[in-house]
């Protein structure tokens, strides 16, 4: 028996945080019955059905292994809960090797949180076979949780170009950089300067290295003609720069076109899902990637991703059915 997707969606819409586990169980599932219920769930939460975008702030936190993401998130989580009283959902995507198919999901243990706090939800998933750093279902899950939680964090391990998929799935991207590790240089070379909305240089307590990393990155950002904020943070007690980071996050969100950004994200997501299901051949039948993009752009703005995929599939069925008469 599959869970009732509509009911779970309705609970999230009403702000019932305890619906999160059941929602994730559905959204992560590949079983056909679950897929159907997952679609029903997402229909309830589409902008069209809600009358607005799900209100939570979806934040992507990414960076190389060892940069201090978990420690930073622990400090941010403490700040959001104790200072701003915001509910927080955290989707931790683990890059573990899929050589055996299995993975060890360690983030839950690394991120300090109060297990009795009902307003904090943490879910770990393996990135799996998916390239681009996100697990299947993470994008839709973030969208669904944003209906109930004030903040939804998607944490991924950045390995170069992969950050771009994260950027398409969230409202604000924070790239975490560790000073003195050559990360900042890597970062400049990797050509992903357009990805971050905020740069956080960790381990500010190290003093000089953190300061110079911050200076280099600020200069690099200026030379690109952007004014992306570069913040220095220290998560060790006493934490420093955490309040400033939280403020910068809120400021970015207030200044960005959330609806437009999410729509672009849904377009990209719908294409990925469609291609995963129907392959390049499906795309060719539609007339190629650009044609599919145009098709999506012509749809109403407030459709959910599931409806967008459905529209592409309808177009595919039409294009492949033999002419009548």
């Amino acid at each position: 028996m599959s869970a009732d997707g509509r009911a779970i969606g309705a609970r999230l819409r009403e702000g019932d945080l305890s619906a999160a586990p059941a929602a994730l169980n559905l959204l992560e599932s590949t079983a056909p019955a679950d897929r159907e219920q997952a679609t029903a769930l997402m229909r309830v939460l589409s902008p069209a059905a809600l009358g607005h975008e799900p209100p939570g702030h979806i934040i992507g936190v990414t960076g190389p292994p060892g940069a201090g993401k978990s420690t930073l998130l622990s400090a941010l989580l403490a700040h959001w809960r104790s200072q701003e009283h915001l509910s927080v959902a955290l989707l931790a995507v683990d890059p573990s090797s899929r050589r055996s198919g299995g993975s060890l999901l360690g983030d839950r243990a690394r991120i300090e949180h109060d297990p009795s706090d009902r307003a904090v939800f943490i879910r770990s998933t393996a990135a799996g076979e998916r390239l681009g750093g996100l697990a299947a279902g993470t994008r839709t899950a973030a969208h669904a949780l944003a209906a109930a939680f004030d903040v939804v964090v998607v944490e991924t391990v950045g390995v170069g170009q992969a950050e771009t998929e994260v950027a398409e799935a969230v409202d604000t991207v924070v790239v975490v950089v560790q000073p003195g590790s050559g990360d900042s240089l890597q970062f400049l070379k990797a050509g992903i300067m357009e990805v971050p909305d905020i740069l956080a240089v960790t381990k500010a307590d190290t003093g000089q290295p953190a300061m110079s990393a911050r200076r280099d990155l600020t200069a690099a950002m200026r030379s690109l003609g952007t004014d992306t904020p570069v913040l220095a943070v220290s998560s060790l007690p006493p934490p420093a720069g955490i309040t400033e980071l939280a403020q910068a996050l809120a400021a970015h969100r207030a200044g960005c076109e959330v609806a437009a950004r999410r729509r672009r994200g849904r377009h990209a997501g719908a294409l990925i899902d469609f291609a995963a299901e129907h392959g390049n051949r499906g795309l060719r039948t539609l007339g190629g990637r650009d044609a599919a993009q145009r098709l999506l752009a012509a749809l109403p703005d407030d459709l959910g991703e599931a409806e967008m995929v459905a529209a592409l599939e309808a177009a595919l069925a039409e294009a492949s059915s033999p002419p009548v008469g």
């Binding site: 869970a3 599932s29 079983a31 360690g106 297990p115 770990s124």
Partner: protein
């Protein structure tokens, strides 16, 4: 003859090593009686086992202490209990070893004040505090503070004792637990000596201008606590290699030249990892052979020995079991002739060759640790290396490449009369102890001079926040707090507030993917196929939560299950140690796991497992629970009664078989309710109510 140059016999029989028994349970009073009986039997020193709340800095009435009070050792919450523990034992003459680490400074402070009240000044005290925090991060898990402040506590303690308690060994660097965690002899030498270097460097820095003058004394007070496995020839070589390297480090790194200060002094508890639950009587001969490893050659003989009991893989040993182990030592020391000769391996080419091999390996591995920035910074590296070594050991036993008599070979056995009594031949701690101790600590707090305690704790916090060369010594502030009547939980709480708390790396995330040369690729491949098929059926890849409820930090077993589950293709949420029942329930629910694996070795399963089942039921999680640990059969039956799907004990050494059974279990529950995930429970699949005894205990 060449007798004058190289005598065959010593002029007189050598004095035996110090004989101890690792003991303590229930209450200070009960443990005091046990110690006095042991001393009457010819034991020559004390070895105190503290319970887990005391080891991790919690009072008996804190939530995390539940189920653990008085279990694996004696609870000592304040100076009154330390006095009761030592009543009638003259501390001026006794040599006392305390297995205490994170809270070592505190327990030594309590010991000093207890002695003071017996009229014995601290200068006269002799003994050892284990105080080796790095191996707690690596293998044993009873840490309380993050690495940096933990090292500071140790440095303060060493600086204090060198000046004020000159005959005390303030730290006992442990290779023992590294072997229990799977270390090879080379890793055991390399990691423990790297660890000693980290400590000595911290003390040298602490001493500042006095370092040149005092380093020889400090070096001479560092002792070791080692392990010896049943491959006793190689094990003996390991100790010879360690003593050569130690002397070298003393001379070259710290400029020590006095030969007495350069001596590698060590105490031993021989191997528990190799003791079996199957045919447990065989453990006696294993223990005897392991004792030979540390006594045979005079040049690397132990200073103090404590032997495990034959039934340690079954549960807590009784006084009679421990007496048997003491008698082994006494036969070795007083009946055999090993104490009559000079070193019997001197000039042996085989022994020298073995030592040279181990030295080369250890030097190379120490260089790797140094490249990682020393032992403190290299904890994640060493932890992952140990998890890998342990996995290899288990693989060899599973594949029959390493013979374990009675377990993977010669398994036919007559029923054992040793385990035939009602309790199965082990000690069971009276469950009423916990309630008594909670009551006792509350009474203590109510009756003391609260203003004096508050002032002492405030001063402790102030010293903890100080920085730089001029900072105060935490040991002094701790002694004042001990005198005032502060409790173990208050002392640790004050320091946690300043230092922060900490979770050590689990090592499993970093453990390498299965080697292509695994001897059982077919079995693993078959498991993966079944896991994939199950994933199709469930809609998601099977997801397992592995964790350890309670304070027990012996995580080796849980880590091996986690790593193998990953290798078999499952998604594994591994949360490590010290989880409360509600934490486990919250994780299981949020993560949507299909099965939950819990591991407990401290004997607190009777209280904790039913409490976890209850918490899961309250959270609406229906995923099946499996339990592993040192669990006597009659307890296993009770756990199954309480709704546990399967119980595994040390005799279940074949982890692939355990995996296969987990897959069976998930296949069944998937068929039963369509989706075995931790979703609100379907009627009939929920955990049955906990038995009344456990339920009443868990209601605190």
């Amino acid at each position: 003859m060449s007798e004058a140059v190289h005598p065959t016999r010593l002029p007189e029989r050598e004095k035996p090593w110090m004989m101890r028994t690792y003991a303590g349970h229930s209450t200070a009073k009960a443990s005091n009686e046990l110690y006095r009986r042991n001393l009457a039997k010819g034991q020559t020193g004390l070895s105190i086992a503290f319970d887990l709340p005391t080891q991790t800095g919690h009072d008996p009435d804190e939530e995390l202490a539940r189920g653990e009070v008085g279990k694996v050792g004696v609870p000592i919450a304040h100076v009154g209990e330390m006095e009761a523990l030592m009543e009638g034992i003259p501390l001026g003459e006794m040599n006392t070893s305390m297995t205490i680490n994170a809270t070592a400074a505190w327990l030594l402070a309590l010991y000093i004040v207890a002695a003071e009240r017996q009229g014995v000044p601290q200068e006269r005290l002799t003994g050892t505090t284990q105080n080796d925090i790095i191996k707690e991060f690596l293998a044993r898990g009873t840490y309380a503070f993050p690495p940096e402040p933990s090292m500071r506590l140790i440095a303060d303690m060493v600086a204090y004792t060198v000046g004020n308690v000159p005959k005390w060994n303030p730290i006992n660097i442990c290779s023992y637990h590294l072997q229990e965690a799977g270390a090879t002899p080379v890793q055991e030498i390399a990691y423990s000596l790297s660890n000693a270097i980290a400590v000595l460097d911290a003390v040298r820095e602490r001493l500042g201008g006095q370092a040149d003058e005092l380093m020889g004394k400090v070096f001479g007070r560092i002792s070791f606590f080692v392990n010896a496995g049943v491959r006793f020839v190689e094990e003996h070589a390991k100790l010879r290699a360690a003593s050569i390297l130690w002397e070298e480090i003393g001379r070259e790194r710290y400029g020590v030249s006095d030969p007495r200060q350069l001596r590698f002094r060590y105490g031993v508890q021989v191997n528990s990892l190799g003791l079996t639950e199957a045919q447990p009587e065989n453990n006696v001969q294993r223990i005897v052979l392991e004792a030979l490893a540390v006594t045979l050659g005079r040049n690397a003989r132990a200073r103090a020995i404590q032997l495990p009991a034959w039934n340690e893989a079954l549960g807590l040993p009784r006084p009679w079991d421990q007496q048997w182990s003491l008698r082994i030592q006494q036969v070795l020391a007083f009946e055999t002739d090993i104490l009559e000769y000079p070193d019997i391996f001197e000039g042996s080419k085989v022994m020298d060759g073995l030592v040279a091999e181990l030295l080369a390996g250890a030097r190379a591995e120490m260089a790797v640790v140094a490249e990682h920035g020393g032992a403190v910074a290299a904890v994640p590296y060493m932890k992952a290396a140990l998890v890998d070594s342990h996995r290899e050991r288990i693989r060899r036993i599973e594949a029959g490449e390493q013979v374990v008599v009675g377990q993977n070979r010669f398994t036919e056995s007559e029923p054992s009369p040793l385990t035939a009594d009602a309790e199965g031949g082990i000690l069971v701690v009276d469950p009423a102890v916990e309630a008594q101790e909670i009551e006792a600590v509350r009474r203590w707090r109510a009756e003391r001079d609260q203003a004096a305690v508050d002032a002492a704790l405030a001063d402790l916090s102030r010293v903890a926040t100080e920085d730089g060369a001029e900072r105060g010594n935490l040991m002094e502030a701790s002694i004042v707090a001990a005198r005032a009547g502060a409790t173990t939980g208050e002392w640790a709480g004050a320091l946690r507030a300043v230092f922060g708390s900490y979770r050590a790396p689990t090592g499993v995330g970093e453990a390498s993917a299965p080697a292509g040369t695994a001897s059982e690729p077919e079995r693993l491949a078959a498991l993966r196929d079944r896991v994939s098929a199950l994933g199709e059926q469930l809609g998601r890849r099977p997801k397992i939560l592995v964790g350890k409820p309670g304070l027990d930090g012996h995580s080796n077993g849980a880590e091996q299950i986690a790593v193998r589950a990953r290798d078999a293709g499952m998604d594994v949420v591994y949360e490590g140690i010290r989880l409360t029942p509600s934490q486990i329930a919250a994780s299981a629910l949020q993560e949507g796991v299909h099965v939950i694996g819990l591991s407990i070795l401290s004997g607190s399963h009777r209280e904790l497992i039913p409490a976890v089942m209850e918490a899961l039921r309250e959270a609406g999680v229906s995923a099946p629970v499996i339990v592993g640990g040192i669990i006597p059969e009659q307890d296993a039956a009770a756990l199954r009664q309480a709704g546990v799907a399967a119980v595994y004990t040390p005799k279940d050494f074949d982890i692939s078989k355990i995996m296969s059974e987990i897959i069976d279990l998930l296949g069944t529950s998937a068929n039963a309710d369509g989706n075995g995930a931790a979703s609100p429970s379907a009627p009939g699949t929920a955990a049955r109510p906990a038995p009344p005894s456990a339920a009443s205990k868990s209601a605190k």
